[in-house]
Symmetry: C2
Subunit: 367 residues, 2 copies
């Protein structure tokens, strides 16, 4: 940044549940906690291994007054982010010990990032009172610069990159071939819709990797955990769930409870990528080496079969705010009841799609 350059904040198009009524927040938070526990366990192994095998602490050449800086991008209001940050610091400290560098262990500073409408007040008042790091909150979209050049040593992001900076504009244009009539996502839609989504994701990822390439110090590690499908275009658990939600909305439109036009104008601002697609995006950026990449079943530690009820709770936690804003809060209970019934009908298919993998973990090194 030259001294005259302004750092522009990226507008936030999709405040999630964070800005909505307190009761939604409270519920979402519990639902999310439960739903994310298994996903986090699967990710923890990947992060521990990445630090043990790929983080070369000697490369940072810390002096006695240096700081190891960690950022969690899209951290939400906690408490999951606190567990993950603690795990990362434990693993880094262990690395210093195992290399006989205990006396060189730096101080840690953790930056909790999310969009400005995230509930930072809750995040800050629930910080663990005894923590081995200095805490800071960083408001802003990760589709742009958030930190000074080369100032970070470890970047983490958990289930945040699927969120697009905006719904592709052509989806809302009745005269466009990508006009997404009667659907809320790109699965089972015409090719133009899927292309518009993929293009938006590619553009968002380009700005994401450009920003991180500037912010992460050389040899720094970035671990991205995100929903994914095994292969581009393949039918997936994520797509199936979006289709169930979309078809529930269309059922309600046919019954006159909402208008069809409302459904036409509603599109989920999510894109679920594949390992191949992410590999291409990383290579296009050119500043990172892929150290590890793995697609897994985040439910692998769970014995119970998939239930409409549990899927409903997870989806509702993430989408209630957005749906209330577009369709009105009065339809939410009915909609998610219909959704859970549809999920129950396809639970076998959903189970097999989970088996194929829905969670992508990528370990990258800044080169």
């Amino acid at each position: 940044m030259s001294s005259s350059t302004e750092i522009r904040s990226v507008p936030e198009s999709y405040p999630m549940n964070t800005g909505d009524a307190a009761y939604i927040n409270a519920k979402s938070s519990d639902f999310k906690k439960e739903a994310q526990k298994e996903s986090m366990n699967v990710a923890k192994v990947m992060i521990d291994d990445a630090i043990a095998e790929k983080l070369d602490v000697k490369k940072f050449s810390f002096t006695s007054k240096s700081t190891f800086r960690i950022a969690d991008l899209g951290c939400s209001a906690g408490p999951n982010t606190f567990h993950v940050m603690q795990n990362i610091i434990d693993a880094v400290q262990h690395k210093y010990q195992s290399q006989g560098l205990t006396s060189h262990t730096p101080e840690f500073q953790v930056f909790f990032n999310d969009i400005p409408s995230n509930n930072f007040n809750t995040l800050f008042t629930t910080l663990p009172p005894e923590r081995p790091y200095f805490a800071a909150g960083v408001p802003g979209s990760f589709h742009g610069r958030l930190f000074p050049e080369s100032s970070l040593h470890f970047v983490h992001s958990f289930y945040a990159l699927q969120l697009l900076s905006e719904v592709p504009k052509e989806l809302l244009n009745k005269n466009s071939p990508a006009w997404n009539k009667g659907r809320i996502s790109y699965t089972c839609a015409q090719d133009e819709v899927a292309h518009a989504y993929a293009a938006q994701f590619a553009e968002d990822m380009a700005t994401f990797f450009d920003a991180r390439a500037k912010e992460l110090a050389v040899d720094g590690i970035m671990v991205l955990i995100m929903p994914a499908i095994p292969n581009v275009g393949q039918s997936s658990a994520h797509g199936l769930m979006s289709d169930c939600l979309g078809s529930s909305l269309m059922d309600m439109a046919k019954e006159g409870l909402i208008s069809e036009e409302q459904v036409d104008l509603f599109n989920l601002p999510f894109y679920i990528t594949s390992p191949k697609e992410m590999k291409e995006i990383v290579e296009r950026n050119g500043c990172f080496r892929i150290e590890k990449m793995k697609i897994q079943n985040p439910r692998s530690g769970i014995d119970a079969p998939i239930s409409g009820q549990s899927c409903m709770m997870q989806r509702r936690a993430g989408l209630e705010g957005m749906i209330s804003k577009h369709f009105g809060a009065e339809i939410v209970d009915d909609l998610f009841y219909r959704f859970s019934k549809k999920i129950d009908e396809v639970s076998d298919l959903l189970e097999s799609q989970f088996q194929a993998g829905t969670q992508l973990s990528i370990v990258l090194k800044r080169i």
Copy 2:
């Protein structure tokens, strides 16, 4: 910090208006903005001069990837903190230019600090959209460590250091000689009360300077703006206002609107220092050189005489939350009406005490 040391957060004893009802916040914010404008103008000249004359940017030996880090301690929820941070950065950038070092101008990162119950959500959603710095919020008490070692280059604090970490305990003990019966502060109280306040302030300042000595890089600058009295023990505008508030409370107690015991148990967690006392505290710490120290009249640019109404608005903005919590919200209107009448009666005396100086500015360099 060794790798095994936990960073303990300091408990916050006195949430001010920040955690109270929204209407209080909204009002306080307007009152404060108005009241602080003149104080800030007086301080700005001091800060500009400090950067022009005392900040030696060559000493930091920044590389092209370095960051100039600024902290505002006790920033509140804005917008004053944004103006001050912008002014500091303008002055530092100008310094680089004036020394022919424009191409070496680093990136800026600003840390907005206040206690965790401060309204960081408001702070973050009202950040200037175009700003020449990366922003972060740091929740925690400045009576303890908040930042990694030697990580800051400029520290600023405006009207925050007068706030004690806690009311001296002996004031609340009926059997102590410092039992503060019928008063809410140490002015006009017995010596033991004043000593207890002074001792608490000295202890708080010791932890403050110890923490800042670790956090500020050598040759870094710290500018502290705080309320003050010209000499220790001298009668002052701040003391007179506290006495007017205390005597309004005692009038209400005599009329049976509140109990005398409630007044006995209420003590303002503020201590107003003097230049001499601050000089001794800085010298005791030993890590800072006083570059400039000045006591001024923050009302020097104001033509209008002091009015009970304007004093009332300023004090109410700062104290309403605390008073409501202790005495109940129903007494607040009556109390501040009485207070404003008393201020009108002593406005000539108050004016002369303002002339003697009530605002202390100190410029310190980390040595």
